[in-house]
């Protein structure tokens, strides 16, 4: 009888599966303000990294079985707690998870919003309406400007530069879902020395956003 109780309790614990983001530089965990080797003899550091993850839903046989309401989550490297997107997924049967990278266009035209969407979070353009989906800032000695800075502010909610993207990954009940993004791979692919400043919606912003959504990988953990 006692064993049986313990068994039930442990079974309940298994159900608290979470969704989180893991940001890396190559095989290392990414830390803010830390210098990393770039190419062979250059260095790079990330000083700011913010990403909106939104509209998380679960699917079974390509049919939506669950959707998180008001699902707009700002991952901010300055606050480790924000790396966890959902603390507990519902104990239902699913085989895929769908996540949105950025903010969809409907939300972009809905006026002032609160929580992570509050414009005080620094993810809203002021001179022109629209959310910044992804903000990556840092320094790299290859960039020949003042302080060797780069600033990538990716966003855009209007055609033809609509940058919001949804991606699906295989998932499994009872397994934690970890969404991985390798910043080293990103900086190499976009050739950061060539594109150091993006501050408004554009074709380049759209292409880089697409690149990032394709670079996301998922790891399922027990």
């Amino acid at each position: 009888m006692r064993y049986c109780l313990i068994f039930i309790l442990s079974a309940i614990q298994i159900y608290s599966t979470e969704v989180s983001v893991s940001l890396t530089y190559g095989i290392e965990k990414l830390g803010l303000d830390k210098y990393y080797q770039f190419n062979t003899k250059d260095s790079v550091r990330i000083t700011k990294l913010k990403i909106f993850i939104s509209n998380v839903s679960l699917l079974k046989n390509d049919k939506e079985v669950w959707r998180k309401s008001r699902s707009y989550h700002l991952v901010d490297m300055d606050n480790v707690a924000t790396l966890t997107i959902i603390k507990e997924l519902p104990p239902i049967d699913y085989d895929k998870i769908s996540i949105g990278l950025g903010i969809d266009s409907t939300t972009n035209v809905s006026g002032a919003l609160g929580g992570d969407l509050d414009p005080t979070k620094g993810m809203y353009w002021t001179w022109q309406s629209g959310y910044i989906n992804i903000k990556i800032e840092g320094n790299c000695n290859l960039i020949k400007n003042r302080n060797n800075e780069f600033q990538l502010h990716l966003g855009g909610y209007q055609f033809p530069n609509y940058t919001y993207l949804e991606t699906q990954f295989p998932a499994k009940q009872d397994k934690d879902i970890i969404i991985e993004l390798d910043i080293k791979e990103l900086l190499e692919k976009i050739q950061i020395a060539e594109i150091s400043h993006i501050m408004s919606p554009s074709k380049t912003a759209k292409n880089i956003s697409l690149m990032i959504s394709k670079m996301l990988k998922v790891q399922l953990n027990d």
């Binding site: 972009n108 035209v109 809905s110 006026g111 002032a112 919003l113 609160g114 969407l117 509050d118 414009p119 005080t120 979070k121 620094g122 809203y124 002021t126 001179w127 022109q128 309406s129 629209g130 209007q158 530069n161 919606p201 554009s202």
Partner: protein, 344 residues
């Protein structure tokens, strides 16, 4: 002392609430189309409108606490800035565009001369952040408001708890702006069947309907669209209008069609304030259009008006003046609130 302060403040606010109960600002004038603003997401409340009014008139929104919204949008000029072709900001900086008149905001879907702003709630962010206007950040504005005792109280009255956020700040400003309804001009009285045009105004109205109404459409006197109106480009400003927003070649040099309501008070005219008088504007449309620019169909055929016709048209345009709008006590400087704040 604090208790006294709260009681007296509450008394003032509730007094105001009483005086506003029969105010028309929550209503849609019967000859107006449906509102464009979604009130379900920000339903009007007297206390929130009052908070918005305090914010509108308070220079706390600017980096050096010197410029308020009202600095460039004064009620006595139909909420624009006379004498200044281009808007002024902190440290005597001068912007690149004429401050537009704020009229009937609940019927607009895009804001600024180029429509860069897609929602009334987000409008205030632009002047707050523009280095040539208020040069501030919304993050810091919220911090300053959080440190103010009176604003903590005003936010509590408005939102039932004392949290001061960017969302609430912007929504409160929207609420005040939504109350700015001008529908009490002579034109409106005529539509309501309360009076009639003079012969001159009546002639002017006919000319208006033939030549102007397709863009400056009744009863709002704008169709809310963007057009090129044949103004020669001022290359000292390098302002190509909506092109910057949409990145669409056809939007080159297009600007928003402004309302003609209260045109008597909202001079100077055009996106860069280049014309001081209505006369100059009519001169532009009859003799000044640059036909080398690709024009909308309405302007392709030259507008020909005799000097008498111009006088008649002007007489009609003056029937759009709404003096009650200019001197509405509900729109004015909230002296009692900002006096309290000055004592903090």
């Amino acid at each position: 002392m604090t208790k006294y302060f709260i009681i007296s403040l509450f008394a003032v606010i509730s007094l105001f609430a009483f005086s506003s109960i029969d105010s028309t600002y929550l209503l849609k004038p019967s000859h107006f189309p449906a509102h464009k603003y979604d009130f379900a997401k920000n339903s009007l409340k007297v206390e929130t409108i009052e908070l918005g009014r305090a914010l509108f008139y308070d220079p706390i929104l600017s980096a050096d606490n010197s410029i308020s919204c009202a600095s460039c949008h004064s009620p006595f000029n139909s909420f624009t800035h006379t004498d200044h072709p281009l808007s002024h900001g902190i440290g005597d900086k001068i912007g690149t565009r004429n401050a537009p008149a704020l009229i009937n905001m609940a019927w607009q879907t895009s804001f600024m001369w180029d429509g860069a702003i897609n929602h009334l709630d987000m409008q205030a962010l632009a002047p707050i952040s523009n280095p040539e206007e208020m040069g501030e950040t919304i993050e810091n504005v919220v911090k300053k408001l959080q440190n103010s005792k009176i604003y903590t109280k005003l936010f509590t009255y408005a939102f039932n708890d004392s949290a001061i956020t960017g969302e609430r700040t912007l929504k409160a400003i929207s609420q005040f702006l939504l109350t700015l309804v001008s529908a009490d001009s002579k034109y409106d009285s005529i539509v309501r069947g309360l009076t009639i045009y003079t012969l001159q105004e009546s002639n002017g109205y006919k000319i208006f309907k033939q030549n102007c109404n397709s863009c400056h459409t009744e009863p709002l006197f704008t169709n809310g669209k963007f057009e090129r109106n044949g103004l020669p480009i001022d290359f000292t400003l390098q302002d190509f209008g909506r092109l910057k927003v949409t990145d669409y070649v056809n939007d080159y040099a297009k600007f928003k069609i402004p309302t003609l309501r209260n045109i008597e008070y909202s001079y100077p005219y055009m996106h860069d304030g280049r014309f001081k008088r209505i006369k100059e504007v009519l001169e532009h449309y009859t003799n000044g259009i640059n036909y080398m620019i690709d024009l909308p169909p309405q302007l392709k055929k030259p507008i020909v008006l005799s000097s008498n016709e111009k006088v008649d048209l002007t007489a009609f345009l003056l029937t759009l003046s709404d003096r009650k709008y200019l001197f509405n006590p509900d729109y004015g400087y909230p002296k009692y609130l900002l006096d309290y704040k000055a004592k903090e």
